[in-house]
């Protein structure tokens, strides 16, 4: 009597084993490369999707404030993944964060100073949430109104555009145009990058030809506030763009450090995510130009510092051959002196 091959369990076992081996083989190929970093992410901005379950967190908004003497400042404690009744206790440090003293009666979600003065300069404010979580904010105070450079119109003649090429690779292809509508509000600048061969990102410097500051004639800089509204015009999640303030001095280009804020990629709606306050000289990183020599201050915010120009830079990463579009509006640099 002929055996029925279809009910032979050994054949089924062989088949299952072959399918399993094939699947395992493919998984090991994919799993052996590509890494676990730089994932194209569908995670909402600001949320850590890689850490289940979400951990409670607290922060103070804004984390840095620069204020003119006599003006009010206000802080707000923001929490995430904290359930139930929330308690707050604000405290203040005048020694750079070494010690904090509780502020009597400051137990609300917000804390305000009605009128700051020079004695408040350098103060740090800490909020402790539910007796455990804590977050900080820094206050810088100046007696001289900030000097403001801003552009929300983006005429091409006001800006110098310099693509950045890493040694041995060609510069990225880029284009810029002023778009009359669709900004935040009104006109904005639209930029499109294409990543050059042998590179993984496109970087372009944008220097304002109007925003110039000379510390020798206009005074030493205390801190700089930077603001911009940025947007990613790319629906493709495989690309991302970051922005930062650009500072040029003595043939060197610096970009503002991200500091202790989260890495911010431009979202697909207008956002001030790349804005930074109270930037000190040490918050700028040299990214182009000659290396800083021993004894040299880079950049030099002092009254002996060379003239400087301001702008912004954009870095986009993604896939070669795919144009990466993004926009900027309401670019603003405020120079604060003491």
């Amino acid at each position: 009597m002929p055996r029925n091959r279809f009910i032979d369990p050994t054949l089924w076992l062989r088949g299952l084993a072959l399918v399993g081996i094939a699947a395992l083989g493919l998984v090991t190929i994919v799993g052996s490369g590509g890494g676990s970093l730089g994932l194209p992410s569908d995670c909402p901005p600001g949320m850590d999707c890689s850490a289940p379950p979400p951990t409670p967190a607290a922060n103070v908004q804004p984390p840095y404030i620069t204020a003119l003497v006599g003006t009010p400042v206000s802080y707000s404690a923001e929490t995430s993944n904290v359930s139930g009744a929330i308690t707050y206790q604000w405290s203040r440090s005048t020694d750079g964060g070494a010690t904090y003293a509780d502020i009597p009666g400051a137990t609300g979600k917000t804390y305000s100073l009605a009128s700051v003065n020079l004695a408040d300069d350098g103060a740090m404010f800490k909020v402790v949430v539910n007796g455990g979580l804590s977050a900080l904010s820094h206050l810088a105070v100046s007696a001289i109104p900030g000097l403001v450079f801003e552009d929300g119109d983006f005429q091409a003649t006001d800006w110098l555009v310099t693509p950045f090429a890493i040694p041995g690779a060609s510069a990225p292809v880029h284009s810029e145009e002023r778009v009359a509508t669709g900004g935040n509000p009104g006109a904005f600048r639209r930029m499109v990058f294409e990543i050059a061969p042998q590179t993984i990102a496109a970087r372009v410097f944008y220097t304002s030809l109007v925003a110039k500051y000379d510390p020798q004639t206009q005074g030493a800089i205390y801190v700089i506030d930077y603001a911009e509204d940025g947007i990613s015009l790319q629906e493709n999640r495989l690309t991302s763009t970051q922005s930062a303030m650009l500072l040029e001095q003595s043939g060197r280009r610096y970009i503002a450090n991200i500091r202790d804020s989260a890495v911010g990629y431009l979202p697909t709606q207008w956002s001030a995510i790349e804005s930074r306050s109270s930037l000190l000289a040490q918050d700028f990183n040299l990214v182009d130009g000659p290396a800083c020599q021993p004894g040299e201050t880079c950049p030099d915010f002092s009254a002996q510092g060379a003239p400087m120009r301001f702008g912004y830079w954009r870095i986009s990463s993604g896939v070669q051959g795919v144009p990466i579009a993004h926009g900027i509006d309401n670019w603003k640099v405020t120079v604060w002196r003491r």
Binding site: T10, L11, T28, I29, V30, G31, G34, G35, S36
Partner: protein, 201 residues
């Protein structure tokens, strides 16, 4: 002729072996079935050994963050134990080991085993070529457009986006598959010689 009997499926051999164990009598077919299991076991064990070496390369010589499946074991990391061989050893080991695993699971005929070697060689070379800058963008776009950015496709997108093409890996994959063929032929020859000598005695 032994070769005519060898292709019989293992299940029959198992039953024969079971009968033989009850009766204390091993017939000719059960001996050959036993050899088929021995061959399969040998292939699987060699494949496991080779794969273990490949895993060791990742654990000892490579940055754990570069591979999604590889855990960081700090006691082993950063030893560079395999030196320059470590660059290509995993590419050699993968088609070698999986050709042997597949051969172990296949029925005892030789031809399907060699087809398996060719298939694993093609898969490895194909994946390596997909990382070439000339192709990766197209693959990423096709994959993301077709299947989207999901938990399932993300590792493949990462593999394509962050992996780098290396001709040495292509060569190693071909050599790995060839090494599996050579090993299979060697084992076949040894088992047949052994069986023939048993028949003579």
């Amino acid at each position: 002729m032994d070769g005519l009997v060898v292709p019989h499926i293992a299940s029959r051999s198992m039953r024969n072996a079971a009968v033989a164990s009850r009766t204390g009598h091993f017939n000719r077919t059960s001996v050959i079935g036993h050899e088929a299991w021995k061959r399969a076991g040998l292939f699987a064990a060699t494949g496991c050994l080779a794969l273990s070496i490949g895993i060791l390369v990742y654990l000892m010589d490579r940055d754990a963050s570069q591979a999604a499946l590889v855990p960081l074991i700090t006691a082993l990391a950063g030893r560079n134990a395999f030196g320059v061989l470590g660059h290509w050893l995993p590419s050699f080991v993968h088609p070698f080991a999986f050709s042997l695993f597949t051969a172990a699971a296949l029925s005892p005929g030789a031809a399907p085993r060699y087809v398996a070697c060719a298939a694993w060689c093609a898969v490895n070379v194909g994946f390596e070529l997909a990382q070439h800058t000339a192709f990766k963008s197209q693959w990423v776009l096709v994959l993301s457009a077709g299947a989207g950015d999901s938990v399932m496709t993300r590792p493949v997108l990462n593999y394509l986006l962050h992996g780098t093409f290396d001709f040495g890996d292509v060569l190693a994959a071909i050599l790995g598959a060839l090494a599996a063929v050579v090993l299979m032929q060697f084992v076949d020859h040894r088992l047949e010689t052994h069986h023939a000598s048993q028949q003579v005695h």
